[in-house]
């Protein structure tokens, strides 16, 4: 009986809640993206449907459902149909190992981050296969660009987090969270003052790694300044030019879901996850609610940053993108690992 409750029942409930909350957040993000973009450009953005325009995503989804699902005659049908799902899936699966609270984690894997990297690398298949199966020049170019970009930045993404795991001595994401924010160790002494606790966050212990991770994260989610796969000025709509109705919606959803999962990973690895200097124990037996709220606030702040960057920085040229990835970020990532090791020895962390 315990097997059915502990191994089937609870995980299923958690999966249901987390997947649905993630999808709701996607809807919220679509609205936020449009509003923030508008405000940055001195416009108002959608503000008619519901309070502050918050029901705009609902209207959008209804519209997309009612649109004709057009499949061009020249496409490779099986792959054309499966590609949007391949983009959506990895982004949602990544959330399985993210700890949203002390006990709110679907799968507490010992290899948490490796699982995430294994899954998120699959996201490129959805884009590449979609572009290739569409059998049109713009889609194919978008898909190919995306492949090259993902390969280049995947490496940097992997290298940038090694420093974090050198400090936490564990790949379990729950361990990484718990090791942050309880005070910094310097020269064998444990500083538990407020400054010590703040400086214990990985964003301060691994600033270079954090910046690298953010840059690679932008590239992984195909967002400006790395949205070469879409590049509407050059490639019509890039890899999703031929997609319509809910297939397009799935790509759209996948992009924002990837944004949420990258954001959630960043919060977990660098921003202390669901902890906030003791505030996470507030509420007694309902402390899990506080923990989720802390996580959500951090995540939303990060998502705002993602959107903010998108509407600030123009797109890189393709050769600049490649040079940045291989000649700048990769060496810095390697140097960061060495630096972390050396500093770890000096400060006896």
């Amino acid at each position: 009986m315990d097997f059915w409750i502990d191994d089937i029942g609870w995980p299923f409930i958690k999966i249901f809640i987390i997947a649905n909350v993630a999808l709701m957040m996607v809807a919220l993000l679509v609205w936020a993206e449009r509003r923030v973009a508008a405000l940055i450009q001195d416009r108002l953005g959608p503000n008619r449907v519901g309070p502050l325009g918050l029901l705009q995503p609902v209207a959008d989804v209804i519209k997309l459902f009612l649109k004709e699902d057009l499949t061009p005659g020249h496409v490779n049908r099986p792959f054309f149909i499966i590609a949007p799902a391949l983009t959506m899936m990895p982004a949602i699966i990544s959330l399985a190992v993210i700890p949203f609270g002390a006990s709110l984690i679907i799968a507490d894997l010992d290899i948490g981050i490796l699982f995430i990297f294994a899954i998120s690398s699959l996201a490129v298949y959805g884009i590449t296969i979609g572009g290739w199966a569409s059998n049109s020049k713009y889609s194919l170019l978008g898909g190919i660009r995306s492949t090259a970009q993902m390969i280049s930045y995947e490496i940097c993404l992997g290298l940038s987090v090694i420093g974090v795991f050198m400090l936490s001595k564990s790949l379990r994401l729950q361990d990484v969270v718990l090791m942050q924010g309880d005070g910094i160790w310097l020269f064998g002494e444990h500083y538990t003052g407020i400054m010590g606790k703040i400086l214990d966050w990985n964003i301060f212990k691994q600033p270079i790694g954090f910046i690298l991770f953010m840059i690679a994260g932008f590239a992984e989610t195909n967002r400006t300044p790395f949205d070469l796969a879409e590049a509407e000025q050059e490639l019509a709509a890039g890899f999703h030019t031929e997609f319509s109705s809910m297939k397009f919606a799935l790509y759209f959803l996948g992009e924002y879901a990837a944004m949420i999962s990258i954001g959630a990973i960043t919060v977990t690895l660098y921003l202390g996850g669901w902890t906030f200097f003791g505030l996470e124990n507030l509420g007694g037996s309902f402390s899990w609610l506080t923990q989720i709220l802390i996580f959500a606030v951090k995540l939303l702040a990060l998502q705002f940053f993602f959107i903010w960057v998108r509407w600030t920085i123009p797109r890189f040229r393709y050769d600049q993108l490649m040079r940045l990835g291989w000649q700048v970020l990769l060496p810095i990532g390697l140097a960061n690992i060495l630096l972390t090791g050396v500093l770890k020895l000096i400060f006896k962390v």
């Binding site: 508008a38 940055i40 450009q41 001195d42 108002l44 600030t312 920085i313």
Partner: protein, 179 residues
């Protein structure tokens, strides 16, 4: 020498790092994010104003005594490129200085392209393009405007040609500026 060699400036370390420039850009966009004055005009609540000379809905005008100025000469009907105007002429009762007028005058606003040629062609200055741009309906029939409706929209213009005046009246030849 047909070309000029441009010296590329040496970038400083800060410039090559991109990040300071990125920070600058981010602070700029944040400033606009919090800026209160926006360019958006929330249209139905905040009506737009049209510039002078705007070519909106064509409408018939009446003179100071409420009589239509149109003499049903069919010039506008003839010149209208999309053939939006239809005029059925009729004769007026005896004793009038004017013997002809429109019995029916319809404007198909779905066809009208708001070119203003009818206004230009009219020898009696009886049809004008107004500044009306908000007109819509739920059926095609609703969008075919009748003479009464057009007269109501057009209103009264006293200046210009006065066809109802007798030749002996003062101001008959007054063809000054219309507007």
């Amino acid at each position: 020498m047909a070309y000029k060699l441009v010296e590329r400036p040496d970038l400083t370390l800060a410039e090559r790092l991109y990040l300071p420039a990125v920070m600058k850009g981010l602070s700029l966009t944040l400033k606009y994010f919090f800026k209160r004055k926006k360019f958006t005009r929330e249209y139905p609540e905040e009506p737009t104003t049209v510039p002078e000379g705007y070519r909106g809905l064509p409408a018939l005008v009446t003179d100071d005594e409420g009589r239509t100025k149109c003499v049903a000469c069919s010039m506008c009907e003839w010149v209208c490129p999309p053939e939006a105007i239809r005029i059925i002429p009729g004769s007026l009762e005896e004793g009038n200085p004017v013997e002809k007028g429109p019995k029916e005058f319809t404007l198909d606003t779905l066809r009208c392209i708001f070119c203003g040629l009818c206004e230009e062609a009219c020898p009696e200055e009886a049809i004008f393009l107004t500044d009306q741009y908000e007109f819509c309906g739920e059926s095609r029939e609703e969008m075919i405007f009748t003479m009464d409706k057009l007269l109501e929209i057009g209103g009264t213009r006293i200046k210009g040609v006065k066809k109802w005046k007798k030749e002996s009246d003062a101001g008959f030849h007054n063809k000054g500026p219309i507007r």
